[in-house]
Amino acid sequence: MSAVHECTCGHRGENPYLPMSMVIQRIVDETDDRTIKSFDLAFACEEDAERFCFSPGQFCELSVFGKGEAPFGIASSPTEKGFLRFTIKKAGVVTSALHSLVPGDVIGLRGPLGNCFPLERMKGKDVVVIGGGFAFTTLRSLIVYLLEGGERDQYGKITVVYGARNPGLLMYKEDLAAWEERDDIEVWQTIDREAPGWTRKVGFVPAVVEEVAPSAENAIAVICGPPIMIRFTLPVMTKLGFQKEQIYTSLENRMKCGIGKCGRCNVGPKYVCVDGPVFSMAELEELPPEY
């Protein structure tokens, strides 16, 4: 299908429900089970591209017209120009529809939505990034931003622990390889069980974090992953001396509007779409466990 680059920005006005048209530039399988793909999108309209401004941690509502809309964290960094990347696991209606598309197809995008990682707070501090499985998308955005934002010297040591069940399920393999080559970032990849040819860490993320033992002194940690991984990593962080104010995570809840109106993504009085998705553990402690 050839794309119709129909520009809608001129009459979009102040309608936050109206999607921008995006052209799929490139689709990459991220994992060898082919359930997770990255989509690089380009704005169909120049004016949209110029106006779009985001920070790592934010998300967008992507839509396949006629199928529906769903929220996805932005996986590319604002420092990467010319495209927006979303890494999407095939699960429901919209994600299945997205997986059936090919480069050149047009989809809708609303955003950027939500808050971002505490970039200002991270300045002058060590940054610890802990991720598990599929939940590494906005963490990729963060890491690239810290490394390539032209302000690397503003941050201290950057430590990354990233785990998946097996090597084939680790996403962003090229990025990981490139980061391993650098001396301004420490990357620890781990898989759950030994696998042929695997020379890096073996074990669950919490155990590797404990082993790597990043210093809590003057540090900020961001943890994203399956609930069980987060649950077992938090006590390790406490043991390492991290206070709950130093640890951030990103929540996911079912969403429709993404702008705090439709009433379904709330965790207690806070809406994941506008008050989050990034929350500190100190903030979450004040909220009920509704996620």
């Binding site: 129909e6 936050p16 999607p19 017209f65 197809d105 809708g108 705090g260 009433g263 009920p288």
Partner: protein, 347 residues
């Protein structure tokens, strides 16, 4: 300024006058029920009524509304068409003060904050509210639990009061005053003012005794983990009757609907009572049972909204009480909340 007046037997002329200026919504008989709908003929408006089953929120927030349309070219939808906003001048005539106040909450949710909902806002800005004070509060009414009452003018542009054989009209907002100015109705005379005052007094006499709601948000703060929610929700059937008939409930879903030759993105009312409301694609559900859904309903209305926007998500119209198939009475739920809190404080 003295109120204006028109005789009840002149209602259809009054309606016709309004219809010549605005698209008018009022209680009219439709499909064997009385509901707020666009008035087609001046004599079909019914103002001698208690209240409608469906709330008038559907005028400003329709149950199903097209947000955008898609045009299809080749095999995929790839062209987004914006739907024009409804900015045509409108008025809602004869809604009860409780329902008029419900729009104040909508204004806080849809018409304020970082994002404005343009569909609601366009309708709201172009709609005049002519509320009709309530001469017959019912045993299930509890607007007065919120410090309001059957003659409350909050949220209205014009408040109408029953004066026996006539209605008195008084401007509440500038928009309302401007309309009254234009309509050139007669000034109310002493006899009708007197009659209206008597009816108002009688209406207040009909209010049943009820504990004020104020402060319940503090009572709820500690009750998230309470057993109370399982207890009160046990008989809940998980239907959407209470939420769909609620004048303040505003949660919605957005769906893409494919039609032959085109498609549309529509939003429709949704309900926190439905199990699928919060279900993740992974199968995980942060509100896995009816107890957690009832907790959300109560917390949203009586703790989160007061906390976030300063208004309760309830105006005391009693529709949820009357229409619940198992008579799960929100007033009783609030009483249980108070009791639970009191017993918690004691222990």
């Amino acid at each position: 300024m003295e109120p204006f007046l028109f005789a009840k037997d002149q209602l259809s002329e009054f309606v016709a006058e309004l219809m010549s200026r605005v698209r008018l919504y009022a209680p009219v008989p439709r499909d064997q029920e009385l509901r707020f709908d666009e008035v087609k003929t001046p004599d079909e408006v019914v103002l001698d009524y208690r209240n409608t089953t469906k709330p008038p929120k559907m005028v400003l927030f329709p149950q199903t509304e097209r947000m955008i349309a898609f045009a299809q070219e080749r095999e995929h939808f790839n062209k987004v068409l914006q739907v024009p906003f409804d900015e045509q001048p409108k008025a809602i005539l004869g809604l009860r003060p409780c329902d008029a106040r419900s729009f104040l909450l909508f204004d806080k949710v849809f018409g304020a904050g970082k994002y404005i909902d343009p569909y609601y806002q366009a309708r709201r800005k172009s709609t005049l509210i002519l509320a009709l004070a309530c001469t017959h509060p019912r045993p299930t009414c509890f607007c007065h639990a919120f410090g309001s009452g059957p003659y409350d003018s909050e949220g209205a542009d014009i408040l109408m009061r029953d004066a026996g054989d006539a209605y008195l009209l008084e401007a509440v907002s500038e928009k309302g005053a401007a309309l009254l100015e234009e309509l050139g109705l007669a000034q109310a005379d002493q006899a009708h003012l007197q009659k209206a005052a008597e009816l108002e007094e009688a209406a207040y006499q009909k209010l049943v005794e009820i504990e004020p709601v104020e402060g319940i948000e503090r009572d709820l703060e500690d009750l998230f983990e309470s057993e109370l929610w399982a207890e009160i929700s046990e008989k809940c059937l998980a239907c959407g009757t209470c939420t769909y008939n609620c004048p303040t409930c505003h949660c919605f879903t957005i769906e893409d609907r494919v039609l032959s030759g085109g498609g549309e993105r529509v939003r429709s009312w949704d309900s926190c009572m439905y199990p699928y409301f919060t279900l993740h694609a992974s199968g995980h559900n942060p509100r896995p049972d009816q107890a957690s859904r009832w907790r959300q309903r109560v917390m949203h209305k009586f703790e989160y909204l007061p906390h976030n926007v300063g208004l309760y998500g309830c105006v005391g119209c009693g529709r949820c009480v009357v229409n619940c198939p198992v008579l799960l009475d929100i007033r009783q739920v609030l009483r249980r909340v108070r009791q639970e809190r009191a017993s918690k404080v004691e222990s």
